[in-house]
């Protein structure tokens, strides 16, 4: 409050002091009436695309879903599950899991949430272009009674609970019928206006009161929210997208907003130093890699050449210098905490060994290759690519690099337009298998496996394990399979692992964000406490 605070810059005189006392008293009087209403002003880099939780599978959609909807169960900070709309669950047989729903839960419209709403939501998910892939292993959702449902899979499936975190029950009656233009209210429309894209009724802690897309979204706490135990005390949220990192940081430091994410790595030190602001960082789950195309470049078929490349890339150095410590150097796809994570696999930078391997493979004099990377998709993506070019020059691999915005990069990636291509991956299921399914399984159009395997890497054992582990419901056996995959990929140097990107959030002191954050980046704002 700059009117009251007397900046030494101006100097103070008596009149000013009296005036500011008067103004301060008046403002304080006005504030006391509303002192209990707490408003959180937050800024992210982008605002949600749509209010329809099934329209687009993205971090933004899921963040919003956790505000206006509630899932059956949700991830906690230790990568376990917390009950939400499902109070408890048990496995009935190897293909069936039964969920007991919470009773007396109300939607924003006032309707009561029942098993029928959950089934309706499940059927809608199966129709969504973005979500149907995740729900492909499921046969059906059966209603046992008003508050009990069963999820049935086609084959024994280990990730039933993982997938249930994607079921955010929607208000079946609210989305029933037709809108003013005669279109079905439950239609999932990617472009063009649809009822569900602009209207929502969930069971979540917040209701949207005003939304100006790209400018701000206002939320109000849902008075009949079922979770009375929640420590959350925020009554209103004003959400503003701020695209530019420096502006977002400035908005926090100047007190214009209370909570920001993501924090750009360049500003981490500054925010950490600031006494009025708290910084929370977590090691992330998105792995950044380079894929080596064996089809385009025969040299890369040789295991020793691929190994030489991995040995030549100082990924710990990249994390330290380019990422400013904002990441964890990787030697495998699975981050710590995932089932397939093998602690014995360590980053292996060793230039002498890399040169030796190149010599053994008969490429002592190196070769030339092309490389492509996006320049606005991952943190410092283009700088990382430039650093790798320099590192590979030391084993005489001459790289011609091209970087481009992500919008142009993805079509190039689909074309497999370069010998070495960058890709980052976050597992939608928070499970190790998903990485290999998409990135390193032999490309197979009929199953969709290997859709992002631009290196054309193929290993029969890996393919077999990818299929087998998805039918294995015993976690110990599954763990062994997933770790075996990681070890094979490591030994064969199937890809060049770089690092897992960290996540960072910052808030002004008094906004207690640490307990509500998690590595999935779904802040559970319903439970946020602030003074």
């Amino acid at each position: 409050m700059s009117i009251i605070n007397c900046k030494s810059f101006f100097g103070c005189n008596g009149f000013k002091r009296i005036f500011s006392l008067l103004v301060g008293g008046f403002i304080a009087l006005m504030l006391t009436t509303a002192v209990n209403a707490k408003t959180l002003r937050m800024a992210y880099d982008a605002d949600p695309v749509s209010l329809d939780p099934h329209e687009q599978l993205s971090g933004g959609t899921l963040q919003l879903s956790h505000m206006i909807f509630d899932p059956l169960l949700r991830w906690n900070q230790d990568l376990g599950f917390d009950p939400r709309l499902a109070e408890k669950w048990e496995r009935v047989d190897e293909k069936t899991v039964r969920f007991h729903l919470r009773k007396g839960v109300k939607f924003h419209s006032g309707n009561e949430m029942t098993a029928l709403d959950v089934r309706w939501t499940f059927d809608r998910l199966k129709k969504s272009p973005d979500f149907k892939g995740i729900f492909a292993p499921f046969e059906s959702l059966n209603v046992v009674n008003k508050h009990t449902i069963e999820l049935v899979t086609k084959e024994p499936y280990p990730l039933v609970l993982h997938t249930a975190t994607y079921i955010f029950p929607m208000d079946r009656k609210f989305y029933d019928g037709y809108d003013a233009k005669g279109r079905s209210k439950d239609a999932i429309v990617k472009h063009g206006d649809a009822f569900a894209s602009f209207n929502a009724s969930g069971t979540g802690p917040y209701i949207i009161t005003k939304r100006e897309q790209g400018v701000r979204v206002d939320f109000r706490r849902f008075a009949d929210y079922w979770d009375k135990q929640s420590p959350g005390n925020v009554d209103q949220i004003v959400f503003t997208p701020i695209k530019q990192g420096p502006t977002r940081v400035a908005a926090l430091l100047s007190g214009d907003v209370d909570f920001i994410a993501p924090v750009p790595p360049a500003d981490l030190a500054r925010i950490d130093r600031d006494a009025n602001v708290d910084l929370v960082t977590m090691s992330g789950t998105r792995i950044i890699t380079f894929q080596l195309n064996q089809k385009r470049r025969p040299e890369l078929k040789d295991k020793r050449v691929r190994q030489a490349i991995v040995y030549a890339v100082n990924n710990a150095g990249i994390v330290k210098k380019i990422m400013r410590g904002f990441g964890t150097a990787a030697a495998q796809q699975s981050p710590k905490g995932y089932l397939g994570y093998d602690p014995s696999l360590k980053p292996r930078y060793d230039l002498a060994k890399a040169k030796r391997l190149m010599k053994e493979a008969g490429y002592e004099n190196g070769f030339s290759a092309t490389m492509m990377a996006p320049n606005n998709r991952y943190v410092n993506d283009d700088k990382i690519a430039e650093a790798v070019v320099v590192m590979l020059a030391k084993i005489k691999i001459k790289i011609s690099l091209k970087t481009m915005p992500k919008a142009q990069y993805w079509p190039k990636f689909d074309e497999r337009a370069a010998d070495i291509m960058m890709i980052g991956w976050h597992s939608d299921t928070e499970d190790s298998s998903n990485f290999t399914e998409f990135l390193l399984h032999t490309p197979d159009e009929s199953t969709g496996y290997g859709q992002y395997n631009s290196g054309n890497y193929s290993n029969a054992r890996v393919d077999k394990l990818v299929v087998l582990n998805q039918k294995e419901t015993d976690p110990t056996k599954r763990k062994a399979m997933l770790q075996e995959i990681e070890r094979i990929l490591h030994d064969e140097a199937a890809f060049v692992p770089l690092h897992w990107q960290d996540r960072a959030w910052a808030a002004r002191k008094g906004v207690d964000i640490a307990p509500i954050l998690n590595v999935m980046n779904f802040p559970y704002l319903g439970d946020l406490k602030m003074n």
Binding site: H191, Q213, T247
Partner: protein
Amino acid sequence: MFAFFSRRLVQAVLVMLVISVIAFSIQDNLGDPLRELVGQSVSEAERQSLRNQMGLNDPFFVQYWRFFKKALLGDLGTSYFFKRPALDVILDKLPATLELVFGTTLIVILFSVPIGVFAAIYPKQWFLRLVMGMSIIGISIPVFLTAIMSIYIFSVELGWLPSFGRGETVELYGWTVGFLTRDGLMHLILPCTALSSIMLPLFIRLIRAEMMEVLESEYIRFAWAKGLTRRRIWFLHALKNTLLPVITVGGLQIGTLIAFTILTETVFQWPGMGFLFLEAVNRVDTPLIVAYLIVVGLIFVIANTIVDLIYGLVNPTVRLARSHPEGE
């Protein structure tokens, strides 16, 4: 006058037609809009079927013809991101951008004319020389740097001004207006100053140079000899002739100003058209990109028309209706 306006109208239609063809033909190089519409794990087959549904696999001319037919009826397509008619989205953001441009123009006029004139009259005065020196710096520093520096100085360090956004706005004849509230005005100061940091030095230098030249001319010497007052000579006779080339340059600079709103709005998260455009490019929101280019094309034509009209007022020898005024 009628001939002048009808010629301008034809010009506007032609400009917009050409822009729409160019915008349409570059859209293939902007990237794949589908990538921005679906999640990473959606299969290629699923994406192809969506692409077919949206008509993105049709040949160029089929797509253009479809666009053209709708455009004639005032429908420039539906934005992928906003899911609303692209023209509506842009018109919603227009007031914010116009406000920014208006504020900047005001700053430029209020400061450049007196400073430029006095710098010409008193070329040796130390303060004016300091201003001229600083104007070189102003021209050389990129707008986004000026913007970020001013945010850090005035919002973060001093805490005087808000760091982003437009603040409180009021509804006025269906437009949202920010300069009627104190909060809205506070939010305008930094973006307008940052945006004028390029234009202001340019105009100060231009006015100074023109004024110096005019002050050397015959008719001014004659006016001195005649014994007219200093104020009359400087501010009536000399200034009027100084402003002629300034108006011409000003008209051309409106384009530059619009281009720089893109940067300024992005840094300040200003909810205007420029920021909208940059985001549309990032998201490959092609209908919105095409609509933006067409609207900006129209703004150019309108701005140039206004400049020509003003020119006619300042210089009565220019006759708008004739194509070769000096020949007849």
